[in-house]
Symmetry: C2
Subunit: 350 residues, 2 copies
């Protein structure tokens, strides 16, 4: 008899046996993002949206590759010490992730969760390490404004007018390397402690210019499900961040969670609302698989390490659509994965 | 101090603490596949490649949905008892998986590993259950000849002549539900016991009509790496199956593994070679994300349950390309994930 011990859980949420540490992280931002509200917070920035490549798609691949390079520069671990690397993006068949990870010869797991992929990757990486499967696992998600416009909407040269509810796909991304065990030097660190895998919700919205509304019901389900499973309320956290709902979806989530008995109060915000200045005219805010990873690595993680935040919920949101599904009249299901991240000081948990 | 116990492993392979049982499985095959070598072995077959839908893409979504329905009919577990469901396909943004799983309200993790996705899903599902994260996890992968031709190659009506090294994308798929713990009734069962996550290999092949050659080096790396990690040789297994290399890739893997000191001998075959009769003119054989899952569920699993096979390696292979990457001159990296599956009789391991 050798059954695994079940983790503490609610009906769909899990607690790790021990926190899984964020060993290193790196962020990369494009020209529009580097002028925004998180100016100066990024590891890498690019003034050329092509990153010196000949196509937008190769540019996003290069962005992923350079972000991983910087991740390993900042880490005490090497690609050869990495047991899993999870990656995803919005390009057709996730080619930016393929091109980004190809040079590193790591065990590679491609994910597709649209803009929720960073959450899915953090869940899988931390759960595998907590389960004893290796010592280190990486996660990267990226997006690029121009590859996303070409893939999902209209060619840039067409110059389509964007509606106010539309969002601006982030050119950028974030990567983290998770490691089992405490920080070797006793320094403060941030760690994944609990998670909830999302369920799809489809409210019949079929407008790719209003993805915040399409994703909001899934976000409300995930957030309230997690809080209920662990008997928490919003103000047990210093910050609750959805991934890329933008202004429209943010307001819907406020309404829905309140109506469901879990008002989010003053600690709730959305990564898509945090990236751009109002005068940048990004309409409802940022979106894209790189939105939550970029904001988490550039802004949330440093505040956890400085002790300004103690306990955070990050809930990356995804709109499950394709240009083909839209043309065929399908609506857009949403999904939202959630991880709890805590600031830890030294070896307290070990 | 509450560190997880590291699983036994080589440099990139892992052994589960206890076997994770395949609780139920279901397969679905299209009109071409049902006339092939596995005729009569499928749970569901369809004579209409549209499955009554208006588009190829909706047809593949329907195929996934019906396969999951049959999976739960055959299982003692319900969607509500499922802790994770992993799914992937070849459509742009994996919409067949989205549409297939949407009605079931399960915690959903989308994967993109091209035709290797079934291996990636089995690895993640069994590792999470072995780590104590829940009691049941599903995996489904599908493909559809006509969605794949539209997505990756030329419109069907164009009538392009196919070269002999080209493969035929399988219309079909397979789904399994994995469960922690022994079979409740003491009956024989099949279980995942070990795995290896693949690493990408790119030998510069850029011809989507020769994907077997593009994937073969990754398959050789994964197979020899696994055998080396656990001190095994090919004839420790009753069957070693790659996913969808077809005839060309199959022969290259034979050569490469032999040259690497791990000759595969008489136990080696490829799912893509097993599906069609020669007179069906499928050229180098079957391919697609549904190829390995269909062959595994329809053919390998029953032989494990009947005791005809005791120990099997399944190594689904993927070609990481998109129509965009091909047009931009990129070569096609390959990847191959591996799982070891064993026949178990009753409660011997528990």
């Amino acid at each position: 008899m050798n059954l695994p011990t079940l983790k503490k859980r609610g009906k769909g949420s899990f607690e790790l046996s021990s926190p899984v540490r964020i060993e290193a992280a790196a962020s990369a931002a494009g020209p529009f993002e580097k002028k925004g509200r998180l100016r100066g917070a990024f590891d890498l920035t690019f003034d050329d949206p092509y990153l010196g490549e000949k196509t937008w798609e190769k540019a996003e691949g290069s962005l992923a590759r350079r972000t991983v390079a910087r991740l390993y520069e900042k880490s005490s671990l090497s690609p050869a010490e990495t047991d899993f690397f999870f990656a995803g993006d919005l390009e057709r068949q996730c080619m930016a992730s393929t091109q980004g990870l190809l040079p590193y010869d790591v065990p590679y797991c491609g994910l597709y969760g649209a803009c929720s992929t960073f959450g899915e990757g953090l869940i899988l990486a931390s759960a595998l390490l907590d389960g004893g499967f290796g010592r280190a696992a990486g996660v990267i998600t990226t997006s690029h404004f121009s590859t996303a416009e070409r893939e999902y909407r209209t060619p840039l040269v067409y110059g389509k007018q964007r509606q106010p509810s539309a969002q601006h796909t982030v050119t950028g991304g974030g990567a983290v390397l998770l490691a089992a065990g405490p920080a070797p030097d006793g320094e403060p660190y941030a760690a994944v402690t609990r998670f909830r895998v999302g369920r799809m919700r489809d409210m019949g919205i079929a407008d790719p210019g209003n993805m915040g509304a399409a994703m909001a019901p899934a976000a409300a389900e995930t957030l309230t499900g997690f809080l209920e499973d662990f008997g928490r309320k919003a103000d047990d956290y210093d910050l609750i961040l959805t991934g890329d709902l933008g202004q429209v979806g943010y307001e819907i989530v406020r309404d829905l969670t309140g109506a469901m008995g879990f008002p989010l109060g003053g600690v709730y915000d959305d990564c898509g609302r945090l990236l751009y200045h109002e005068e940048q005219d990004a309409h409802a805010g940022g979106s894209g698989a790189g939105c939550s990873s970029l904001v988490f690595v550039a802004s949330v993680l440093p505040r956890l390490l400085r002790g300004e935040l103690k306990r955070v919920l990050l809930a990356p949101t995804g709109a499950l659509l394709s240009a083909v599904s839209l043309l065929q009249g399908e609506s857009i299901p949403g999904i939202c994965h959630l991880i709890e991240v805590e600031a830890r000081s030294g070896k307290e948990d070990f």
